[in-house]
């Protein structure tokens, strides 16, 4: 959809479209990588540099995030012969990707470096499992955990479930509506050769899968995988000399949070998530609104997380998320497809980065699906979205990413085709 005329912005408009994502890369999504996070991270950054057409000497900034389950930037920069003018490794999972893109823009705008590689490397299945089993659940309980983990309230699903349940109570959201998030994302994954799970699932598959933590069935929960992912951000000026059509960054929101960040359930309505606050930064800064968005990456750690964010960012009315995700709008071929790679539910779990990578490729009009490669070496997209076919969104110009840490905290970004 063409962009509307500029609307009022709360940040300087000159930053819109001034920076771009120019390179993306990842390792194979696996369970059992057989490699260290250092090895995987090195490969992902190298892939992203090659994708962009950048030499190591042209990358001088590095950012990463982890839950103490990764390798610091200094080792990966050393491995790849990158001399750093700036680096920072921060703590955190979901909601970090868009937040670090904002930081990357800030440090380049401040003149501290010129080109930033952002990576997340994790053996999220074979080493530190994200669901909280193993070392994480054996840790002693003290301090704040005396009011939470001691009650068997620890994993992400367990921590978020009161929000999901209250939403069903307040709005009459039905399990079969929420299950459609998995159904649609699995359809998209079936057209993604990289996806860890390529199988298409039905609503019955989801509702008949075993209950993990009511209201979450097994298939309401995302996959745990081993992988590294990387995106490279630089100025739009430099992007013009690189290999691909740049994905220009219109606006970002980083780790925007609800009140009472120490225990957000003290403030209601608890069915409201961070997007309620983040939307008021995202849309004015980007100069667009939900109606202008051609495709969405809505963080799907769980089916519910996608749905709740779509409501609070204004893609539908509050409480109507169940209808929205069941309406066909979110499917490839629909008005506003989402998680076209299959997302965390199907492609792989990267704490948010793969959904940004997917939108960058969508904006290049060159996603890696099963369409034939033409004589010019370019993929000839058929826009036939049946299983094993195409997943390129036709004429896509503007995308949104909605990143989620928990109901409390979220990040977001709007990009447009350069």
């Amino acid at each position: 959809m063409p962009l509307p005329a500029d609307t009022d912005a709360t940040t300087p408009k000159y930053l819109r479209d001034k920076y771009a994502i120019v390179g993306v890369g990842e390792t194979t999504y696996t369970r059992g990588s057989g490699r260290t996070t250092r090895a995987m991270g090195t490969v992902a950054i190298r892939n992203a540099m090659q994708d962009a057409g950048l030499k190591p000497s042209e990358v001088d900034g590095m950012l990463s995030y982890s839950g103490n389950d990764s390798t610091p930037s200094t080792f990966l920069a050393g491995d790849l012969g990158i001399r750093l003018n700036f680096f920072m490794d921060v703590n955190g999972g979901g909601s970090s990707t868009e937040a670090l893109i904002g930081i990357a823009i800030g440090i380049m705008e401040a003149g501290m470096c010129r080109c930033v590689a952002i990576f997340r490397s994790m053996n999220g299945y074979s080493q530190v499992r994200i669901g909280g089993t193993g070392a994480r659940s054996a840790a002693p309980i003290n301090g704040d955990a005396l009011h939470g983990r001691v009650y068997g309230w620890q994993s992400a699903g367990q921590m978020f479930a009161p929000t999901f349940m209250r939403h069903m109570y307040e709005y009459g959201t039905k399990p079969e509506q929420v299950a459609m998030v998995k159904v649609v994302h699995s359809e998209h994954a079936s057209n993604n050769p990289k996806a860890f799970y390529k199988k298409r699932y039905t609503v019955d598959d989801v509702l008949n899968s075993r209950m993990i933590c009511k209201p979450l069935h097994l298939l309401d929960c995302c996959v745990e995988t081993d992988n590294a992912t990387c995106i490279i951000v630089t100025s739009a000026d430099r992007a013009r000399n690189l290999r691909h059509t740049p994905a220009l960054i219109r606006g970002v929101v980083g780790r925007c949070s609800k009140p009472r960040a120490d225990m957000h359930y003290q403030c209601g309505p608890i069915s409201r998530v961070a997007g309620y606050y983040a939307k008021d930064i995202l849309w004015p800064n980007a100069g667009v609104g939900p109606e202008d968005i051609d495709a969405v990456g809505a963080y799907d750690a769980f089916t519910f997380t996608s749905m709740l964010q779509l409501e609070d960012y204004g893609f539908c009315k509050k409480g109507e998320g169940g209808e929205y995700v069941s309406s066909g709008i979110t499917r490839l071929g629909g008005k506003r497809p989402q998680n076209t790679s299959g997302g965390h539910l199907c492609e792989g779990y990267t704490h948010g980065m793969n959904m940004v990578i997917e939108n960058v490729r969508q904006l290049r009009h060159d996603v890696d699906d099963y369409c034939p490669i033409g004589p010019d070496g370019k993929r000839q997209h058929t826009f036939d979205y049946r299983e094993g076919g195409c997943r390129q969104v036709r004429n896509i110009e503007v995308t949104a990413n909605l990143g989620w840490a928990n109901p409390l905290t979220g990040s977001a970004m709007v990009m447009r085709r350069g």
Partner: protein, 173 residues
Amino acid sequence: MSIRATYLDMPLSIDDLDGENLEYFRHCAEHDFHLQQCDDCRLLRYPPTTACPWCTCLTSTWTRVEGKGEVYSYEEVRHGIQPAFQARVPYMVLLVELDTQKGKPTEHEALRVIANLTTADGTLAPPDVVRQVGIGSRMRMVFSDVGPGLSLPQWTLDESAAQPARPWRYPQE
């Protein structure tokens, strides 16, 4: 004095430096629920904090609070993550809204206290009791005695209260 104890095979501790939690659990050990009341704006708060979340005042007075309220939301865990809980499924985690200070200081705020559903003696509730509880159920606070000087707040069905005919539960049993 720091406190160390074991609960359901899990090691629990409160450090010497953690004054707020030491005081919170000192009252719990006496099966008496106390929260900090701000010395300035007079609002109660949960869980323990250093400053008042509404006015930043650094001083507060531990005040007895009636452990009664209504289930605001819940979850029913069927797949335990922590080893201690794997053998104890299904168990319920309840978010109970206290009657005290409900809707204050603004409409959607309240003291909402997390704990498990237990029987009156503070042990995790059996499956037939789990099936009786949902949003709207009336609860009263009881305590699980973990060790000398340490008891955990828990929720049990309030036998003396009028219960809703059918508390709201997730549609798939």
